[in-house]
Symmetry: D2
Subunit: 178 residues, 4 copies
């Protein structure tokens, strides 16, 4: 009867500390394929892949154009094919025209022909908590679950630790036209 | 550690059938005060009040300006003081400038000086399921939980039956600047 | 060949000083009909009507919800039938969900069944120049020129002086789907 | 007294026919530097450069995600440094979350560190007229005139003919905070 197809229970936040280690792995990562392997068919990602995605989202944050809020956000989306697209928030004198980092990253991917995603990482400079995507971004991300299935969102802190949620956990009973 | 302050478990959808009955109540409702009474201090609403809010959201739907989608949506928001503001979706040649019904209703309330809400009802012509607000609207509604607390969202069908959720259920771990 | 149907030349700004006088007129205005008269068929408005519209846009400004920019904006739109709807800007933690004052005012009118407009007045606290609507609002206003024709935009300062432009002057070669 | 710093007169549309020729030039263009040359310091572009920009905007159009409007739009922005970024429109079930092609292209550039633009080309499948950017996009483009100066917008048809306007012509008296 309900739009929600199932009860949703948000699990305890799983936090992995990957801080300094990730830097050591960076050079290695250049050699590692990020493309799906047999074990990833069910969309699970290795910790190494996640660490790289998170790292790139923090790097992307540096490009933020945010003269009005001074609130830098970065994002990095991983396509089914293993390509990563990064984005940052881009603000405007007329606040309503702001584009968030998540939307920038996904728009870049879509405009290059990618619409199937495995995961997206989000980065801010907030160290007290894991900042989650705004509702507008969740809706934007949700559009591509038709192609991608219910993919992962990694919310991270400057120390590169992260929290993971599914889109369906952050946008239960998602609005959709047919 | 997590932005979510608590585990959230979305309960089974409670569906009340109020269909034909509500019409009988309409004439009575004109006499009933919708303003908060002692028993409503904890934000619970009587079934009668909810029925009226749902009814007004369906009435507001008639005003929808939606030449591009032909998808009519209505909304009715109830303020802490007992005033109801209604809204509809308003589309634009440039789709991004569309304003949803929920945002229209709340914007009307805010522009008249009301920022504390008890509940909002949403109406569409879809009879197969309870259509929920899009992520952008959830974010817009969430802004006013600072003043209002975690208020109710009633999603309804043309037969005036409805499903009820809290904003925190539809937008868990809401994004917010401090 | 061009989308623009004609050359557009923006005339010198006409500025009328209506400052203190308008207050004296306020009480009188309550008695004056704002509805279209024969002489207004071509959408010209009397100075008195304009003064009232501008005054209401400044009053509406007081309701602005703008904790992020602290930039208050008000608007007042006059329908073909003579009704005035007012609005203010409403901001959000996620800047992209901000609704400008002009859109709030017009959304209110549309949700009440009015889609034909004669004029809209915009008010800010900026005294150095006449602040104009953002591009997004111009597009939103433009949608209703189908019904309304090319209506007037009055941009005003806190001293209630104003500058007048047509929508076609502020959004030449407007984008429109057929 | 007016926000507009000068009278603006929109000139007759200049239309260059570059159709079949441009294809012949494509192979050559691969060899031609698109970076600024001495003669381009004042932001004039050669016809060859423009033809390439227009061509890329039409190519980008193919990637449009527009299941709701079926209205494909492409864009290509040329940075001061000579790099071209392309974009397409990306729609959403909730229409308000649509991102236009122009914004996709510019967001890509900004997220890669480019904020100074020389020109942007826009492409649709409409052959009857030169479709111009919506007001929201004009505002988004306008944000970067602080860095870029008043850059060019090329609106084109499927036959690759185009019309050229300055941003200040399409968004006179642009809204801007400070």
């Amino acid at each position: 009867m309900c739009l929600c197809r199932r009860d949703i229970q948000i699990k305890k936040c799983r936090v992995f500390y990957i801080g300094t280690l990730s830097f050591g792995l960076d050079s290695v990562l250049g050699l590692l394929p990020l493309s799906p392997r047999s074990s990833e068919k069910n969309k699970t990602m290795t910790d190494v892949n996640v660490a790289e995605l998170v790292r790139q989202s923090h790097e992307a944050k540096q490009k933020a154009y945010c003269p009005y809020s001074n609130f830098q956000v970065g994002a990095a989306v991983l396509t089914e094919e293993g390509t990563i697209f990064t984005g940052c928030n881009i603000e405007n004198s007329s606040y309503s025209l702001t584009i968030c980092a998540e939307r920038t990253a996904v728009a870049k991917a879509v405009s290059e022909g990618y619409t199937k995603f495995k995961a997206i990482a989000v980065a801010t400079n907030v160290s007290e908590k894991y900042m989650s995507p705004c509702g507008a971004c969740r809706q934007f991300l949700s559009e591509f679950t038709k192609d991608s299935g219910d993919y992962d969102i990694y919310m991270s802190k400057p120390d590169l630790t992260y929290d993971k949620k599914k889109i369906s956990e952050l946008l239960p009973c998602a609005f959709s036209l047919n």
